[in-house]
């Protein structure tokens, strides 16, 4: 147990700091949520060259080629955040597709896609969920019919963020209709410009379209676009699905929100009393602060484990369930603190940031549901974490 950084990391942090001070013209620059503009592409390029993006991607594929070091990655994240300077891009292509390709792609696929992806020249979207296949993803129905050198794809995907501007999609398609559900799926790369692809924005409860639906009608894709072997797409996808779950429920977000809430309580008043002076509010704040702290320390713990190449086990399994709920509860608290003002959603001189809190409150509920619902998370925790049996298959189905 030693929370003081070793000399190697002290000097690394210095490097990062000096790089940031040399580049403080980037400070406060917000990232374009859609396609990166030229300035961002140049910035990404510079970050890769200096090892602050695509850090562990081999140089032959355009990366920086450093060996993995979670502590250095954390230092980069911390310093960039503090300097309010945009970090390297983190889209689904970079965080999910590239790792998959590195693990299971052919040499040709790696050469073809990794460099352009990490540089931000090519944007990817993910085609996994379907309207009928959420928790039960493996039941997905989008079909790829074998037609010589191609597959002809028909079906529908949902929850595909950035599909509206993505160049490419990595997609799960049922290519072996007769195989058992987990063994009939292939992981296929699809060019979004292929005829027959229709992208429709998916409006959510927040009033925004954070996601899309993607419809496929006789979309022709060469078989060479399969990653891994035909019929093994489920296994290929799971390599990165676990990765995605790790990303949800990040405690740093909770810490930041807690700080924002404390500011709010120190600035807003009710009947002349600062909210921070209301003992009932304070008690609720302390309860939340304790949860935030415990989750931050928990992440230090699993961080150390992965740094040592150990399995963080339960301490990792609970992050999505606890983290998303905690973020949601924090937003709910902020709204309650603002009371009627907390319901303002839209342009108004009475908007004391409630719009942001309300968006978070709703979007986080989506995160509690998405990427493995809370119920699925509890199944995973009890089965993988506690060694309890899986739900027995029902003899008869549905209502008696």
């Amino acid at each position: 147990m030693d929370l003081k950084p070793g000399p190697e990391y002290v000097s690394f942090r210095e490097e990062v700091k000096s790089f940031l001070s040399e580049n403080n013209q980037m400070s406060g620059k917000a990232r374009n949520p859609a396609r990166p503009n030229n300035e961002e592409l140049e910035w990404q390029d510079k970050l890769i060259k200096n090892g602050y993006a695509a850090r562990t991607i081999p140089q032959e594929y355009g990366g920086y080629g450093a060996k993995p070091d979670v502590l250095k990655s954390r230092i980069i994240a911390e310093e960039f955040t503090q300097a309010k300077i945009p970090l390297g891009m983190a889209n689904q292509g970079i965080s999910m597709f590239v790792p998959t390709l590195l693990e299971l792609g052919t040499e040709e696929q790696k050469k073809l896609w990794i460099e352009t992806t990490i540089k931000g020249e090519i944007i990817w979207c993910q085609g996994y969920s379907e309207p009928g296949s959420g928790s039960d993803l493996a039941s997905l129905q989008t079909k790829g019919v074998d037609d010589g050198d191609d597959f002809i794809i028909n079906g529908q995907k949902i929850w595909t963020s950035s599909a509206q501007f993505a160049d490419m999609m990595f997609c799960l398609v049922r290519t072996e209709p007769d195989a058992p559900k987990h063994k009939g799926i292939s992981y296929i790369i699809i060019d979004m410009k292929t005829p027959g692809i229709d992208v429709r924005p998916l409006m959510t409860m927040t009033g925004h379209a954070e996601f899309n639906e993607v419809f496929f009608t006789d979309v022709r894709v060469p078989k060479s676009n399969i990653v891994g072997n035909r019929g093994e797409g489920w296994m290929v996808a799971n390599a990165t699905l676990t990765h995605e779950r790790g990303m949800l429920g990040d405690p740093n977000q909770a810490s930041t929100r807690l700080e924002e809430i404390i500011d709010l309580m120190q600035n807003e008043t009710m009947d002349g009393e600062k909210l921070i002076d209301n003992p009932v509010h304070l008690d609720r704040l302390m309860r939340l602060q304790a949860r935030v702290m415990s989750m931050s320390y928990n992440s230090l713990r699993s961080l150390t484990a992965s740094h040592k190449g150990l399995d963080a086990k339960m301490s990792k399994l609970i992050v999505k369930l606890n983290g998303c709920q905690l973020n949601h509860d924090l937003a709910g608290f902020a709204i309650d603190l603002l009371g009627e003002l907390g319901t303002i959603y839209g342009k108004s001189n009475h908007d004391h940031d409630s719009g942001r809190w309300q968006w978070r409150y709703m979007f986080d509920l989506g995160l509690i549901i998405g990427g493995g619902t809370a119920q699925i998370q509890k199944n995973i925790i009890s089965e993988i974490g506690l060694g309890m049996p899986r739900e027995p298959k029902p003899m008869i189905e549905g209502k008696k």
Binding site: M203, M205, G339, E340, L365
Partner: protein, 358 residues
Amino acid sequence: MEFSLSEEQEILIDSVGKMLDSLCNIDNLRAQAAGDNNFRETVNKEFSNMGLRGLLIDETYGGSGLGVLEASLVSEQIGKFAAPALWVGNSVMAPISLGGEENKDLAEKWLPLIASGEATACVAFNEVVGKRNDIGLTIDEGKISGTSIFALDGEADPDIIITAVDNDVYLVDAKNEKVELSLLPTIDSTRAMTELIFHSCAAEKISGGKDLITKVIDAGRVVLAADLLGTSQDMLDKAVEYSLERKQFNRIIGSFQAVKHMCAEMAADIEPCRAMIWYASYAQNDIPEESHLVACHAKAHLSEVAHDLARVSTQVHGGMGFTDLLGLHYWFKRIGLTRQILGGPDLVRKEAALAQGF
């Protein structure tokens, strides 16, 4: 002793329910959210036609002379359909404000018009419930100045404004150019909220003082609580219905114990609230010594129960609950707003404690 609804009350529920069922659908809610007023106008015209607007107004003024219980039963239906009806302000708080014997002339002037639907009243009591930051009203020589937010039923070009400053209730001519009305953008597009800015605007005092303020707020809270009951009961019904249709893992999700227990917990939480609403509403007219306390508890308790229920029901709906496709979020957001108006739960519980001398 008979703690149940009368046949007349059941008929009232049924007729209001049928009327709203025929008028309300997701397309209307969407159009309204997009700024179209037709839906609201249709609903409120129908309320006039059915003579509902004067439900609480004395027969002598052309109303039905019914009580807060009936107002709550109607409110529950309004909540169930997330309908944009003028109700808690125009048809509950305003009539009670003007109902007292001491205000006969004001009553004679306005109550018949409200009962017939020819006039509507906007009610602005938010700042006597709790003043946020520098928002609030002052009165000087019969003229009101300042800002009041989250006023009720101010969206339909009201004729009068009932408001409270310090320890008195006032009536203001809403057409007076010394007062500006504007809609507040909130999460809930099914219930409009209004901001009022008074520039030393003339006001008539309504006698009744602090007791009247309490009486009016209590009734408003109970009727809002009934709205929460209707909205959340409907969210539970929708969750059960969805769970019996949606299949995952070759089973309807309603056959999974986790989903069943989520629904059972929602039912266990909401069911006693119905009796609580009945009692709290009945108490407003018939048990004066309890009316304030039960009103506080009804508003606070329903706010908590409905708030949790909205989240769980959405979870049972899974991804569909999060999208706009089913429109479930209109109910979710109506609960989110109603929880906070006329006092959020913390504030109201504090009042409940005070009411008992704690």
